[in-house]
Each structure stands twice: as C-alpha cells, then as structure tokens.
C-alpha cells in the first residue's frame, strides 16, 4: 500500500512527541512526591543523558549545564601548593617539557634565575600560554613530570580581547585542582608520597 512507509515513520515521530509529554507527566508526579525536578536539577540532567532518556533531550544552556567528567580538558593552568602565610609554592621547575611537547607551540617559558646570584633556579621566571592558539590536547599535563601543569574545567572563556595568559592568570591552588580532579589528584599524591618515602629510605640506608 502506498503511504505505509510514511505512516510507519510518522508513528515513530508520534511516539517521540508522546514521550516528551509523558515524561513531563512522570516528572510532575515525581516532583509532587519526591520534589525532584526534570529541568534545572542534577537528577533531571542525568536522566536526560542516560540510556533511559525519552522525548526531548535538550539541556537548557546556560540555565542548565552538563556536568563535566573528571578527564575533561580545557586550557591548562599552573598548580601551586599553599605554603605558610599564603606563600605560593609553584610546582613548576621550568624544565620546559610542556613547551617542547606542545603541538601548536603556545607555551612560552622564561627560566627563572636567582636574583641574588644570577644562576638558574627551578622556578619559572615567567610563563605564558597563548590560549587562542592552544588546541586543548592535554599533552603538557600528560607529560609534566612534576604534576605542575594541569588541564582546567572552566570552558567559558569568551572575551573581547586576545587570551594571552600570564603567570598571574595561570596560577591556581592545589586545592582547586583537587576539587576538579579528585581521583587524579589522589593518585598523583599517592605516587609522590611513595617516591619520597623511597628516597628517604634510600638516604637512611646510605647514612647507616
């Protein structure tokens, strides 16, 4: 029968249409009984991006935002440990691996020098990332041996000017890093502690 295929297709679109309103009804009931909302709530977004999603699946950005997974990567930042009295202990030693591995070559590092002696010291003198050129590949954080440069989660960086980030803009505390990537930070801390313990044991053995 001519037109059967069209009707079959229309049944699919009708089911989608129906499901959208049916979902609304279900969520209205849920809201009454448990207080959970379909829009503007974490449960609602999780439901709309799960295998059970039915009907309309739009996320109402910017009122709603999809949660970013831990591994999500956007423009890098530099991690510092908070020392006594607010001192910033920058983890970066300005070894330059990130600048060498960077595919679009958007990282610029001035190696630090000791102002008293003029000798190089393991601290960046200056650090620039040209965020307009950065391609968010994550190589810098992947190959940094000191866990000093990490990829951020903040993706809303639109601006009227060029995004050239200097040290001041790039430095973020370790607590921020632990906040956005708890599992990674815990794993790295563990590895660092193990390394230090091994070093201490070795030094002890050498002293004995």
């Amino acid at each position: 029968m001519y037109g059967k295929g069209i009707l079959k297709g229309l049944s699919v679109t009708f089911m989608r249409f129906w499901n959208t309103y049916w979902q609304d009804a279900i969520w209205a009931w849920r809201r009454l009984t448990t207080g959970k909302k379909h829009y503007g709530s974490a449960e609602g977004i999780a439901h709309r991006s799960s295998k059970n999603a039915r009907g309309i699946f739009t996320v109402q950005y910017p009122e709603e935002k999809l949660p970013v997974p831990e591994e999500f990567r956007y423009i890098p930042f530099l991690v510092f440990d908070e020392g006594a009295e607010g001192a910033k202990e920058i983890r970066c030693t300005s070894c330059g691996i990130c600048a060498k591995v960077c595919p679009p070559q958007c990282i610029w590092i001035v190696r630090g020098t000791d102002p008293a002696t003029g000798r190089p010291r393991p601290q960046p003198g200056d650090f620039f990332i040209d965020a307009d050129i950065c391609m968010n590949c994550g190589f810098c954080s992947e190959y940094c041996p000191f866990d000093a440069i990490k990829m951020d989660h903040d993706y809303e960086i639109a601006s009227y000017t060029r995004n050239l980030y200097d040290m001041e803009k790039l430095l973020k505390p370790a607590s921020y890093y632990e906040g956005i990537r708890p599992a990674n930070a815990a794993r790295e801390d563990e590895a660092r502690r193990a390394k230090e313990a091994a070093k201490a044991a070795k030094a002890e053995a050498a002293a004995a």
Partner: protein, 580 residues
C-alpha cells in the same frame, strides 16, 4: 604487525628484468620502476597480478638526493597487503607518465602531487592545482618552500624555552615580509587573466543548438562555495542542459591548511592531535590510522586491553558517524532536522563516553604509539555496555522504521547516482561507497589490522550501486558495528594499556610505512617516512572523502541538478579531511 607494508611474494624485478629493481633502502620496501616503463609495469600490476584498487599516490621530495619520488600503493579488492612501487625522477624536471588511464582513482592525487610538489604527470587529462588556488606561487610541500610566519624547520621552536618572552607571530614576522611572489611580479602593473578560465575550459563546451525551432544553450552554474547543501565550503561547477547535469567539476581547497606540511614540522607525537582535526566526526579512527603507521615503523606491540579499547572506540565512532550521515543525508533531501536531531541524540550519548574516557567530545587525541592515553574506567565501560546492549540496537531499528520505507525517500534515492562495481573500483572508491556497488571490500576483513580478525561480523554490502544502497549499507554497518562492540565489551580483558613509560620523544627508526584503517567514510591511510630524526620526513594523509569524490562527475551526469545534492550527501564528505 612486523611485516613490511608491501608483500614481496610477487617478484616484479623478475617479470621486468633489467628495468625494475627492488627498493633496498633500509626500512623501505617495494620496487623502483623507471619512469619510461611505468605505464607498461602498472598495466601488468593491474591486469596480470590483479591489483585493481589504487589506494594512494604520494609524492616525496628527497632533496638531499636531488630526487622526487612518487609512491604508489595498490591493493587487490579480494584482500591482502599492499603492493608498493615507486618512480624516481630528477628534482629539477620531475616528469612522469600519468596512470589515470589505468586507475582513474589516481586523478585527484596526481593533481595534488602536482599542486603541492610540482611533479608533472604527462597525459593527465586535467592537471590543474587542486588544493591551492590558481596563481599561487611555488609548491608548498617542497622541502625548500617556507610558509608565511615561518619560524624554524621543525618544532619545538627554540624561542619558546628557556627564554620564552611571548611575542605574537605577526609582530615577529610581519605578514607581507614573508610572502612569495613570482619573480617578475609587480603588484602595480599586474593584469590578471581569469584564473577560473582553465576550470571552465575543463568542462564540456558550451554549445548552442536548435531544438524545435528554439535556440538552446547550456548553462554554467556554480554550486557553492557557500551553499547549504555542500557540507562546508565546497564548490561544484556544473554545466546544465535544462535541469540535467552535462558536466561537473568539484573545486576544493577552501579549508586547506597544508596538514602535510604542518605534520612535517611537528614531532611524531605532536601530529596526533592534528589528526583529530581531519575528519572531525571520527577523531578516534583518525588517531587509529596514524598510530598504526608509526607503530609499524617503531615495531611495537600494543597490549591486549589497549587493542580492545581501540576497537570499542572506533566502532562507537562508526555508529555515531553513520547516524550523523543519516541525519545530514535526509537534511540534504529536504527532511529538515527531524532525522538529524534524532541522530544527534544518540550521538550525544556516545560522545559522553568519549568525553569521559578521552577528555573531549570531538577532538579526542586519545591514541598513543603503543596504546591509549588513559584507561577506560568501569563507569565508562558500564555506560558503553548500557548503550550497546540496551539502547542503540533499538534506536537503529527506530531510524530504520522512521526512514527506510518512506515512499518519498525511496522515490528520491532509488536508482539515482548509479555507480557500477567496475567503475567504483576503477575510481578508487572505498568504504560504504564501494560496498554499496556490490564489492564486499572492508579493510577490517580484507587486510585486518589491530584485533579485527577476532570478531565475528559480516561485511555490509549491497549490489544495487545507487543512493538507496549507499543509505542501506550504512544502516547495515551500524548493526554490524554493534555486533563487534557486543563481542569486544564482553571479551575486554584487564591489564596494562600502554607498554612501558609514556615518552614525549619517541624514537622512530628510519623507513617508510603505510597505516590504513577502515574509517567510517572509507579507507583512511597515512604514509609516513622517517629518517630517524624526531620529526617525520614525510607525512601524507590519504583521505577517503577526497578520493571518493573522483566518481562524483560520473554519478551526476544525466541526473537532475537537485540530485547532485543528494549524491554529494551520499558520499559523506567532511571538508576537514577533504581539504586538509
């Protein structure tokens, strides 16, 4: 994995004694054919030895030896490894005969070699620039050509560390100071000849004729570069007789950024995120091909779990690419947005997995030489299982129900854009395009890479050779991908995902390699030459969208202009890959 890219089971040197010799450079394979014997040898390779599918034609500039080399990779559509043969010509006057009459699929790639390297192919029907514009000075892939904003031969640049005071590129290297003009070029006195003249001349001639007492003319129509049907900045120049296409030429390169040259400046690892940007729908399979090519050179073994993750990722990529294809193809046919948005919903769920595992939805940059960047966590595996076992099969069926039997769709695509099996092979079609013409050629089966030989799946194939067949092949292929995914997700073992410690500078022994994968759009291959340094000496991409356009004219001739839109949509091109 360890076998060289070419098989030496056929001794071409014995067949042509005195003329053809084996390539004995360390790390290289195949045969070197003298330019004057090329046609004779190539005909024998096709007709006597059965290598009917010419995959890639690559030019390489060996500036130290003062030679240009053209490398041909030919395959049998019945399966098996590549047959590699090369022609070396002097660098000052690189001229060799064209093989277009033997394999028509060489047409665009020979034009590319002429455009980027200045190698002349005698007997080529239409040897014009293809990616750069007419009137461009020089051949950019030659080793002595330098781009504007040139800084150094290779990355990493010395200005970045240890004294990296940031300067903007245009301050350091003002744009006008670094342009190359022809020797006698004077911008004040120049008079332009129409650069399009050669293009229009390549079309069938305008001619007037009188029919039923009325004088009729052919019309020349430029579809694009800005046209909603062309999937980006792509242009087709069409000669029309009324509504019927008489002749057609694709014009491309509007998104050209010379990926190959950037690749030569980069280190091996730095190329990985750039491959994401080729076919931006399928970054995982792009990574896969490049990783395979370099792993062949490095001769390293990939751990079991990493191989499984690679297969899972590329099959998920295939499903989401085909979903997008269905949506966009229907969009081209005029079904605005409903199928496209249904497709996008499922794609979003797949991209969620990519984001969780690789860190980005589209530019995944996930593969490394020897493994993958990160392990696929339990949560991501659970999500993948839920999708593959509970959701996607039903959704593929739903798309099928929504569209396949629709009478409007069927009348629009059935019998349109016919391409016979012989023509498809001759024009080097690959992927769904070739399989829709009845040639069951799938690299996953024909020349298995990674661990594809372990899975049980069918090669989706339809004999009709029209648009409907191309559409159906994609639907079948999604079902087959789900089969593979189901097996991979059940079998995935625990274990390491990377051998040894990740290195940011990899040691790649000198030699050549050709890594190819069955990307959702066809054969995606990388030809990589290493000279032992940290940067590839030559890095060439054989993009499926680019070569698949060879048959566009043939499919369109005799069809209506409105069908051109559908036929182009049916090839499933992505401009990022096409223009590179």
């Amino acid at each position: 994995m360890t076998a060289p890219a070419s098989s030496l089971t056929i001794d071409l040197a014995a067949r042509f004694p005195g003329a053809v010799s084996a390539d004995v450079r360390p790390g290289y394979g195949g045969f070197i054919v003298p330019a004057e014997k090329l046609i004779e040898v190539a005909t024998a390779i096709r007709d006597e030895f059965g290598y009917d599918l010419l995959s890639a034609v690559t030019g390489v500039d060996y500036i130290a030896d003062n030679k240009m080399e053209v490398v041909y990779h030919a395959f049998k559509t019945t399966g098996g490894p590549a047959f590699v043969f090369k022609v070396q010509v002097p660098r000052e006057n690189p001229v060799l005969p064209s093989v277009v009459n033997i394999w028509r699929g060489a047409e665009f790639q020979e034009r590319e070699a002429w455009d980027l390297l200045g190698i002349k192919f005698e007997g080529h029907p239409d040897l014009r620039r293809i990616l750069m514009w007419e009137g461009f000075e020089g051949h950019p892939l030659r080793k002595d050509w330098k781009e504007p904003f040139f800084e150094e031969e290779v990355k990493p640049f010395k200005s970045r560390w240890p004294d990296g005071k940031h300067t903007f590129a245009e301050v350091k290297n003002p744009f006008r100071d670094n342009l190359q003009f022809p020797a006698d070029f004077d911008p004040e006195k120049v008079t332009f000849t129409d650069p399009e003249e050669a293009l229009y001349k390549s079309l069938k001639k305008y001619h007037s004729e009188t029919r039923d007492g009325i004088e009729t003319d052919h019309i020349l129509v430029n579809m694009g570069p800005q046209h909603p049907s062309t999937h980006g900045v792509f242009r087709a120049v069409v000669m029309l007789d009324g509504e019927t296409v008489v002749s057609l030429k694709p014009v491309m390169g509007y998104l050209h950024r010379n990926h190959d040259k950037i690749g030569e400046r980069n280190t091996f690892l730095q190329n990985m995120p750039y491959t994401d940007r080729l076919d931006y729908f399928c970054s995982m399979t792009n990574n896969f091909g490049y990783a395979l090519a370099v792993e062949k050179l490095m001769n390293i073994q990939v751990p079991e779990r990493a191989d499984y993750i690679r297969v899972i990722m590329s099959e998920l990529t295939r499903i989401q690419n085909h979903l997008i294809f269905l949506g966009m193809f229907l969009n081209d046919l005029g079904a605005m947005y409903t199928p496209a948005l249904y497709a996008f919903e499922e794609r979003e769920l797949i991209l969620d997995i990519f984001e969780e595992v690789a860190g980005a939805r589209m530019m995944c940059n996930y593969f490394r030489f020897g493994g993958v960047a990160r392990d696929m966590g339990e949560d991501a595996l659970r999500k993948a299982r839920e999708l593959v076992f509970d959701r996607l099969p039903g959704k593929v069926d739903e798309m099928d129900r929504l569209l396949t039997e629709n009478e409007v769709l069927v009348s629009r695509v059935k019998g349109i854009g016919y391409l016979s099996a012989e023509d498809a092979i001759r024009t080097s079609m690959t992927g769904p395009m070739l399989r829709a013409s009845g040639v069951p050629y799938d690299i996953r089966r024909a020349d298995p890479y990674s661990i594809y030989d372990r899975f049980d799946f069918n090669v989706a194939c339809r004999p009709e050779g029209d648009l409907l067949a191309r559409y159906m092949v994609r639907i079948d292929e999604m079902r087959e991908s789900l089969k593979i995914l189901g097996q991979a997700l059940k079998q995935i073992p625990a274990g390491p995902i990377f051998p040894g410690k990740p290195q940011y500078q990899v040691k790649v022994p000198a030699g050549e390699s050709y890594g190819r994968v069955e990307s959702p759009k066809g054969e995606l291959a990388y030809y990589v030459v290493s000279n032992g340094k940290p940067n590839p000496y030559r890095y060439h991409v054989r993009p499926s969208s680019f070569v698949n356009l060879t048959s566009l004219e043939q499919m369109c001739i005799g069809e209506k202009i409105a069908d051109f839109v559908a036929i182009l949509g049916g090839i499933d091109i992505v401009l990022g890959e096409l223009d590179r």
